[in-house]
Assembly symmetry: C2
């Protein structure tokens, strides 16, 4: 599975939705398959952002730290990102991002995209999920306790993926984006943004590699497809 | 994506369900990723069976032919199968197969299995789907015209996959098995069987590689998740 612009994904979103995410894979093992991406740690502990091969955790207390050998991911999507198209734009918002992507890639209805936005964000809102406070606490319950932060006039980078409609049980359908400020001191899971002086770049992804956990936790109950609305709501897509 | 007991899958079942399967990939390209598997050709033309690296088509007129360079698959699942467990059994049926697999692999709730059954089949029923008779004819419409055949006292091999519940949009949830008679003159998509003098072998699969078509047809409409009952019915799982 070598090659650029392919997705390597560890575990599936429906496992997190059911709260089956106590354990996982050493995050550095997953970085063999990509240098850009996003995810979370075991127990849904905060938000993980991978930029230029470096992995960081935004903690629910507002901290930022570089991930270490001992950190375990419960869900991760990474790619070796090589933009196939790029454009500069004076202005962009969360709501207009897919319109711009669709004009860059007009005949793509059912593929993934990798998306990067470098910009000044006059306004950006993001969340950091807290750690599960008991085994099997579901994603919906966890994000009920999330910290939402917003910043003004932040320079930074958004990186993430668009996943097509049929991937509901595997991935977050639609946009799933994490933010990192230029000074690497702030960030999280994007809930909304306005951006100016934008460099938008993207790549179409047709190769999707999924590795299912071999942990006891993953096999402790049958994973069913989550309610479509629940994932959208838990990921902040209805806000 | 080298390595044994991984699934390489070309396209997704929900694309076929919507009848988006006019075109695809030269089948021999897919055989780089596995030597055992099953699938269909462009336009849902018959059933494809891959055994020991050789690919065959069962046509809806009852014929069998070795696939050629020019044959195009619209959906294929293959693996380099190396059984991790094997057992001989005096008797096995379609209904008891997963009970046997679960006792071979007791703690696996959410993984794929590759499954091979070599046996004498006192009774086996299978179908061959006909070619779409118009563009975008759905899988449910196509199998409404399928030929169902049954044989008695056939020696042969069943090969296929068990896919976990959350793969509904990607794969056929549960058992998806194709049959090949020992003389390679009969076979198709298994609807039911009784077997004696059985060699059952299997492997757990945790790595799942999906390649989405880059054809114009695949991008001609948004693929949505099919109704769960429709796939079960179209694949003969309710019979």
């Amino acid at each position: 599975m070598e090659g650029v612009n392919q997705i390597y994904q560890y575990s599936i979103i429906s496992s997190l939705a059911q709260g089956i995410c106590a354990d996982g894979l050493p995050v550095f093992q997953a970085l063999r398959y990509g240098d850009h991406g996003l995810g979370t740690l075991a127990g849904l502990d905060g938000e993980v952002i991978i930029i230029d091969g470096q992995a960081f955790q935004y903690t629910s207390t507002g901290g930022v730290r570089a991930l270490e050998e001992s950190d375990i991911t419960a869900f991760l999507m990474v790619t070796f990102f090589e933009p196939s198209k790029a454009v500069t734009l004076p202005y962009l918002t969360h709501e207009t991002l897919m319109r711009e992507m669709s004009s860059l890639y007009p005949s793509t209805a059912n593929h993934f995209f990798a998306i990067r936005v470098d910009a000044v964000f006059p306004h950006i809102t993001y969340r950091v999920a807290p750690r599960q406070n008991h085994h099997r606490e579901t994603l919906a319950e966890v994000v009920h306790r999330q910290s939402v932060r917003s910043f003004k006039e932040q320079q930074g980078t958004i990186f993430g993926f668009y996943s097509p409609a049929f991937t509901e049980a595997f991935s977050v359908v639609g946009l799933h984006l994490h933010f990192m400020s230029e000074d690497r001191k702030a960030g999280g899971h994007v809930l909304g943004f306005q951006a100016r002086d934008v460099s938008l770049s993207g790549a179409v992804i047709t190769k999707y590699h999924v590795e299912l956990p071999e942990t006891e936790d993953f096999n402790s109950g049958v994973i069913v497809e989550p309610d479509k609305g629940m994932i959208r709501s838990a990921e902040g897509l209805d806000q």
